[in-house]
Symmetry: C2
Subunit: 448 residues, 2 copies
């Protein structure tokens, strides 16, 4: 009999799952369902269309209609799943037309993603609070810009908030960022590293308030200003970037258990606690490779990898996803910032005794033109002397250093091993002493 | 009693050794001896002064006179060591003035480097065959360019040959490269990867002949042309870039044994077979971390690391140098090429059964402006499935990928582990699927 595989969600995780299932099972009937107009696009690219680096939201479509056709994936857009029945193995959907349908599955993959969360602040029911999660969201923001918005308030200094803030600044808007915590990028960087990024953003004309909570949205029907830390800040555009939450409503209603992190609980095969149901991407929880605690990393790289694993399993194969280090990177104006593993703060929260090493260096030989500053911070578990985290902020070549340290962490490299590691150099491309190695030596000096 | 430490050679390895010894022993009498006019400069930077990226050879001086003074290092420039006596623990030197002196040491560090080797080809005693090893060499080449040289022949398509060839091309010269072997960069890349670099060089107007040996230097006193593969190639400038050889004459005359690789034999503390004598940098051999065979990697990164180890040991401390993977990288016009560990060809020569995976990808999200091509080749030991080598050729972000794979190799990462590794991404900085991971998947497809 032909296997029926249904995937709810048709972006990074969902499309990857459907594609992997198809590669395993050439005859399966594979259906992808999304309530969005567009499928198979890169959410991570949205800020760069707003910033103008990418001409159109259409350019973000990574998987075209032709791809879905070629892979024989039955794609239903603008179709909302209203219920999952794990006993009968069905999902109920309602199309844009209003027509309701019940679809049978043998394997179900939940890739419902996450949503921008706005806390229950006074006035948060008013109109005009944007978020940036979908192409529609992006279009609304761009419309506001094109209609002449001159200023924006970004609520939350996480990755999406700052990337969108930078994009709006690049469009010429006056941009104010309001963050409740004492630093920007609190999930990603320690305060000392975040400070460098903050100064860079300020040097590019962004106004950043930390330790300022949004207390109220002001205006009639439409938000015209916020109150934050007792101060009134008016703007033409408001972006909710407080954070994202896993989209688990459907799963919860279907009795599919969540885990500690409020994501859908999964095992290494990306199976939920319910037979033949998988969860992947931003809605799913997965173990952290250092703390071994479940987390919801909500990263595109994780989504596609989990998607592939779930797809192979749903298609009758066997694959496992080992867990995450939360490796992430961003570029804001001319600065790059990245993280892998635990920050010093996160390690302390997890009860891990750590020692750190920080070094400032250059990205090229000091005498070579356009050598840019770079700062590396290593977080080392004191007893084992193993690397458990790293943060890098610099002008270039940050991403692959993060990947290097991610691989090192995954293989249990100690700081002593890193200090002796074999690295590559040429004057236009690096310093003779690789900054990661110098940071390791800084740690060793403390250990002596 | 005050310890007397003598270091022969005062560039990457030598200065690092002297500095490390000083940090360990604040009272030692430390003397650095070089026959060159200038000490403490970056040899690797020489081609970029010729290319014009760096204004002057003086800019390559990393360690100034003030540094040597601050570190209380007694620097003797333009002073040639004529003999080492390991019984009496002396070195005999002759200064520029002709004055001979015998210096006593308690510890001796030999950092005599390497020299450009020209095979005994007919006419190789004629004038006008340049090499590029010292600032003086660089000045001679630049003088020839400034006097109106319009064309150059580079003999040897290794790193230094190509970097200098590119520099001369950037100065507007017609550049012809003649390589005896069937590919360029034969020490660094496999033929398939080298081909991409060759095409890039040709696209920038360089003329590259492979499988053409230099048979004769033509001209009266001065070389005016070469015969190569039966063809006469005339030029205004000739560069010998056949290869470099360890400078071991002094050591051999002093009875200090060489190893299999023709470098000075050392142990992990960088001690030679003779008590209190160390050898470091381009003249010293060191174990390869994969083959466990001794090699002479002749790389700046290795020189400084070995220098630091020898300096700590000579200064009364304890440090070891674990060995090398030969990680190296270069930038030629707009292309970067790097290697770590064994090439496929080198693995086969070493009798290691390998399987490879090659992938072509982009350096940024495909939709992001200026995404550049990148190609990753992994070399995997078939039985253990461990990574034993990698080569990358691409438009950007090659160096740190090489470092990432170098760390992975050093920790014994298998191709399966790499395929599941946690990596970082953002549209301006990487593809969602890291190319190194895709290359690992290509290998796994062959293993299935």
């Amino acid at each position: 009999m032909v296997k029926r595989i249904i995937v709810i969600g048709a972006n990074a995780a969902g499309v990857e799952a459907a594609s992997a299932a198809r590669k395993k099972d050439h005859t399966a009937e594979i259906t992808l369902i999304t309530d969005e107009k567009t499928a198979g696009y890169s959410r991570c690219g949205l800020p760069f269309v707003i910033g103008g680096q990418i001409p159109s939201f259409k350019d973000l479509i990574v998987f075209s209609q032709a791809y879905f056709k070629m892979m024989k994936l039955n794609l239903k857009t603008e179709t909302r799943v209203t219920a999952i029945n794990t006993k009968d193995k069905t999902v109920t959907v309602v199309a844009k037309t209003g027509v309701t349908e019940t679809l049978q599955y043998d394997s179900l993959v939940i890739a419902t993603g996450a949503y921008a969360f706005t806390p229950p602040i006074k006035g948060s029911d008013k109109q005009g609070i944007h978020s940036l999660r979908t192409i529609e969201d992006g279009e609304h923001i761009l419309q506001a810009v094109n209609k002449g918005a001159k200023s924006a308030v970004i609520m939350g200094a996480g990755l999406i908030g700052l990337e969108t803030g930078v994009a709006l600044r690049e469009r010429g808007l006056k941009v104010t960022v309001v963050e409740m915590l004492p630093q920007i990028l609190p999930q990603m960087l320690d305060a000392d590293m975040a400070q460098i990024v903050k100064e860079h953003l300020e040097a590019h004309g962004m106004c950043i308030f930390t330790e300022k909570a949004v207390e109220e949205f002001l205006g009639e029907d439409k938000v015209l200003a916020i109150m934050a830390g007792g101060e009134k800040i008016a703007a033409d555009l408001f972006l909710s970037a407080f954070g994202v939450r896993a989209n688990t409503k459907l799963a919860v209603e279907a009795g599919i258990p969540l885990g500690e992190s409020k994501g859908i609980k999964t095992n290494a095969r990306m199976e939920t606690e319910v037979k033949d149901v998988y969860a992947i991407g931003d809605c799913a929880e997965t173990p952290h490779l250092i703390t071994h605690k479940p987390v919801c990393p909500q990263l595109g790289t994780v989504a596609v990898k989990q998607g592939r694993v779930a797809g192979i399993n749903a298609g009758g194969g066997y694959a496992i996803f080992p867990g995450v280090l939360g490796s992430a990177v961003t570029r804001l104006f001319d600065i790059e910032a990245g993280v892998t593993g635990l920050t010093e703060a996160a390690a302390k929260r997890a009860g891990i005794e750590v020692i750190t090493g920080v070094i400032s260096s250059k990205t090229r030989a000091a005498y070579y033109p356009n050598a840019l500053p770079i700062k590396v911070k290593l977080v080392i578990e004191r007893e084992s002397q193993r690397i458990v985290g790293a943060q890098i902020v610099g002008g270039e070549e940050v991403t692959q250093r993060i990947n290097a340290l991610s691989l090192a962490i995954q293989k249990g490299m100690t700081v002593r091993e890193l200090a002796k590691a074999d690295t590559a150099y040429a004057p236009p491309l690096n310093e003779t002493w690789e900054p990661m190695i110098l940071a390791a030596e800084m740690v060793l000096m403390k250990l002596r």
